[in-house]
Symmetry: C2
Subunit: 208 residues, 2 copies
């Protein structure tokens, strides 16, 4: 399983094939069948493995600090395994909640405990959890977005390939090329957290 993750990290998702993985392990491709009945199961295993790196243990800090810490940890993990992100983010769509590996459900339980212990009632805690992970998914997708098409080029417009867009139709998009090139994922995560957490707090104080 860790070998599968290594393979995906090194060569991308489409390199994760039974024969290729078997070769990597010095075993026959069919041997893996004993451990993972499906290709789906392989993907699930990888996701679970990656999610174990998530630092979501409760500590002494207030809930806002803990959510921030979790978010940074998630971002770090996504940056460490960019090739896994597509399936990480897509997995919930294909696998019913009740069948998901326990490892992927644990962060949910942990956050529910944190929020309810901090005064949220279970219902809004769930809403906040959803908003929170939805935001994290969205952020990671944004940050890992492929932008450069000609990495060697020095001019931003050319490097991003935006020069091919008709100037008449996309004036603003072309004008923010520099901004796009200088994207700072960490800052953007914090900005999003500011918005989100202040919204949560307002809701906690009885706003909703």
């Amino acid at each position: 399983m860790t070998a599968a993750l290594r393979l995906v990290d090194a060569e991308g998702l489409e390199a994760l094939t039974r024969r290729r993985l078997g070769e990597e392990l010095g075993r026959d491709a069919m041997a893996l069948y004993r451990h993972a009945p499906d290709r789906e199961a392989l993907l699930d295993g990888i996701v679970e493995l990656v999610l174990e790196e998530l630092d979501a243990e409760a500590d002494e800090q207030d809930w806002q600090s803990q959510l921030r810490r979790g978010a940074r940890s998630f971002r770090r993990l996504a940056l460490a395994h960019p090739n896994v992100v597509p399936v990480l983010v897509t997995r919930p769509l294909l696998m019913p909640l009740g069948r998901r590996p326990a490892g992927t459900l644990r962060p949910l339980e942990t956050l529910l405990r944190l929020l309810t212990a901090s005064g949220f009632d279970p219902s809004t805690a769930l809403h906040c959890y959803r908003l929170y992970v939805g935001f994290l998914y969205g952020h990671v997708i944004n940050e890992l977005q492929a932008t450069a098409v000609e990495p060697d080029e020095t001019d931003d417009l050319l490097r991003l390939g935006l020069h091919r867009l008709p100037a008449r139709e996309f004036p603003l998009l072309r004008s923010v090329a520099g901004e796009l090139a200088g994207y700072d994922g960490e800052a953007e995560l914090e900005m999003g957290l500011d918005v989100l957490l202040s919204g949560f707090e307002q809701r906690l104080r009885g706003g909703g």
Copy 2:
């Protein structure tokens, strides 16, 4: 291309194969090659086609109402084509911005115009755009998440398959089963928009 979308809508993503699509069109599988050089290109085409349904034209309303309208439109479109969502959300990760079909870039340009026309400077407009679409991606992933494992069952805990989780380890998750079952995507979208837009407004008033 519209046939490809119809096929994916009806039978899921994995049904989208050259031979299958050719059969659907009464043509040979290889004929499609003239129109789409890649399977990737097919997926891109579908995404572009779906995104054309997005209602993001400028109108007379203030920017907040317009963002709300766009968000509702995006949600509606995702619900109409649930099978497309995985690739819709994942596409930016695999395709550099400069190579994306113009149709998928137009909403970005439109929103940049809306925001800058409303007083945002280009840099924060871009930040807000990213937060906004990130939020939308996250929301539809949440809403389209597969939950039911035993749809016929009437008891929530059993229907979601949560009864198999150890009660010791997942007490809270099990306790919100009813809440999970009664998920209201529209309400959650509006709640998220409340949080997001008030955050944007604060930033517009010079808060950031």
